[in-house]
């Protein structure tokens, strides 16, 4: 009896997990041709390091909001204030901004030493996934 309950529960859990898989949001990914420690991603996107050249997505886009909230851990306003300080003091140049995952993929694939992020990790193919978010 106990065994039956366990099996039923397990089976239910499995079915539930499988059923919900397609419904789960696809996860975003930080991608590059290079391998770096994920802790350095924040430094690069906060303009403190140029060990890789970063490419950004459009301001206000869902993927950028998710990246900024989950990877950088700060709000768009806070990041804007931080960057305004860097830009107007010549400490960093504005990051290149492109319009889609495809444009990020194309840029990162054709330029070694660059880093980008996309909304769908499964599109990364041959590129290194440094972090999923």
């Amino acid at each position: 009896m106990l065994k039956l309950i366990k099996v039923t529960l397990l089976g239910t859990a499995l079915v539930w997990a499988m059923a919900s898989l397609p419904a789960m949001a696809q996860s975003g990914a930080v991608i590059s041709q290079s391998e770096i420690d994920s802790a350095r991603i924040t430094r690069i996107y906060m303009g403190q390091s140029r060990e890789l050249i970063a490419v950004n997505q459009q301001e206000g886009s869902a993927v950028r909001q998710a990246f900024e909230a989950n990877v950088i851990g700060r709000s768009a306003e806070q990041i804007k204030a931080h960057w305004s300080r860097l830009l107007f003091t010549g400490r960093a140049a504005e990051l290149r901004q492109v319009e889609s995952d495809e444009a990020v993929l194309e840029y990162v694939r054709s330029n070694p030493g660059t880093i980008g992020y996309i909304s769908d990790a499964s599109k990364a193919d041959d590129l290194n996934i440094l972090l999923e978010f």
């Binding site: 390091s49 700060r74 107007f88």
Partner: protein
């Protein structure tokens, strides 16, 4: 010479712009502020009791031309309300990126005296409506020369150091009047260490020859009277003529994107002159609630009046010297309550009430100000 240099940089920027206009980036920022004092005889931060827009209003446009991967030219054109919106070249410099760690700048640059010197005009980048005026009171912001910037990562911390060398020459406000001011052989270093939410910063600056040519009738009259009464050496001692000057600052900041704490202490001294030894401080605490950020700041000045042996001086002359040295001596406390509201990324609305208790003049005033600050 400076003008030729500026023009050279400007035309260089234009040339770079026309040759490769894809490589030129324009950005800008603006502060539109309004304020007033609450009492009819009160004056503070450039405000009086009728609403004024000039003291905290400015517009700036910055152009950056990337000449090569490691070489760029930047100019910043600015129109300040306090200068009747005359358009001026705030910065103009050539930047060479030696490698990942070292950057060299040359031209007309911001003097990094304070923690917020670099972004002083980009008020959007900090929580205050204006930086604490008790501390941010050196009457010039820029110099002509070169700076070397170094960034080092040590584990989780970042050490950022800037060395500067150059000079300064312009007319600035000293003792409530314009004075031709000259700083020769200006050298300095400022360094900040950032570890997670904490930043400590220190700076030290030195000029071998500081000269301030105060030309008020009172000052000239006193100098003539002293010389005429056989106190010419005292007159020479009072003058700021090729004196050594030092400026030192320390600061501690905390920002975990929830709570913000900022503090600085500064000392400015020009040896053997009528200028007071300036000592200033502030401490500020703020907390973010979504787009809202209320904050409170306490700041003060504790200047030391220049001391001269006046016992042998005739009474009116002693009084004149006393008046001169006390005119540059500030003793005040300033308490500010402020609110920042982020309208959206790139636009902030700010409100500030500051109570100024001037102990040297024995006056008290309240300044109320509003501002919309933006970057674009």
């Amino acid at each position: 010479m400076q003008r030729v240099f500026k023009l050279g940089l400007l035309s260089g920027l234009m040339l770079a712009g026309s040759a490769a206009h894809a490589n030129i980036e324009w950005s800008g920022f603006a502060n539109i502020g309004a304020g007033f004092t609450t009492g009819s005889d009160e004056q503070a931060f450039g405000y009086e009791d009728s609403v004024d827009f000039k003291p905290d209003t400015l517009f700036a446009l910055q152009g950056r031309a990337q000449l090569a991967d490691d070489l760029s030219i930047t100019t910043q054109l600015m129109s300040r309300g306090e200068d009747n919106f005359d358009l001026g070249v705030e910065w103009a410099y050539l930047q060479y990126q030696l490698n990942e760690a070292w950057t060299i700048n040359a031209g007309k640059l911001r003097l990094p005296l304070y923690n917020y010197s670099d972004s002083l005009d980009v008020a959007y980048s900090y929580h205050w409506l204006r930086t604490p005026q008790a501390v941010y009171r050196v009457p010039f912001d820029n110099f002509t020369g070169a700076s070397v910037q170094h960034n080092a990562f040590l584990g989780d911390s970042m050490l950022s150091t800037q060395f500067i060398v150059g000079n300064f020459n312009d007319s600035v406000e000293v003792a409530d009047s314009q004075a031709e001011t000259d700083l020769e052989n200006l050298v300095g270093v400022s360094s900040s260490l950032n570890y997670h939410s904490w930043t400590v910063r220190g700076g030290f600056f030195y000029s071998s020859d500081v000269s301030v040519e105060l030309q008020t009738p009172e000052f000239n009259g006193l100098m003539m009277q002293l010389s005429g009464a056989d106190f010419a050496s005292l007159a020479d001692d009072l003058r700021v003529d090729e004196r050594e000057g030092t400026f030192a600052s320390i600061g501690l900041n905390f920002d975990n994107f929830d709570w913000v704490f900022a503090s600085e202490y500064t000392e400015l001294e020009v040896q053997d002159s009528f200028l007071a030894k300036q000592r200033s401080f502030y401490a500020s605490l703020g907390k973010r609630f979504g787009s809202w950020m209320p904050h409170v700041t306490y700041a003060g000045t504790r200047d030391q009046q220049a001391d001269f042996a006046l016992a042998t001086l005739p009474e009116p002359l002693a009084q004149g010297v006393q008046q001169l040295t006390s005119s540059t001596t500030q003793r005040s406390n300033m308490t500010s309550l402020g609110l920042r509201y982020d309208v959206r990324a790139g636009v902030a609305f700010k409100f500030d009430v500051t109570h100024v208790d001037d102990k040297a003049l024995d006056t008290r005033s309240n300044v109320v100000s509003f501002s919309v600050q933006t970057v674009f």
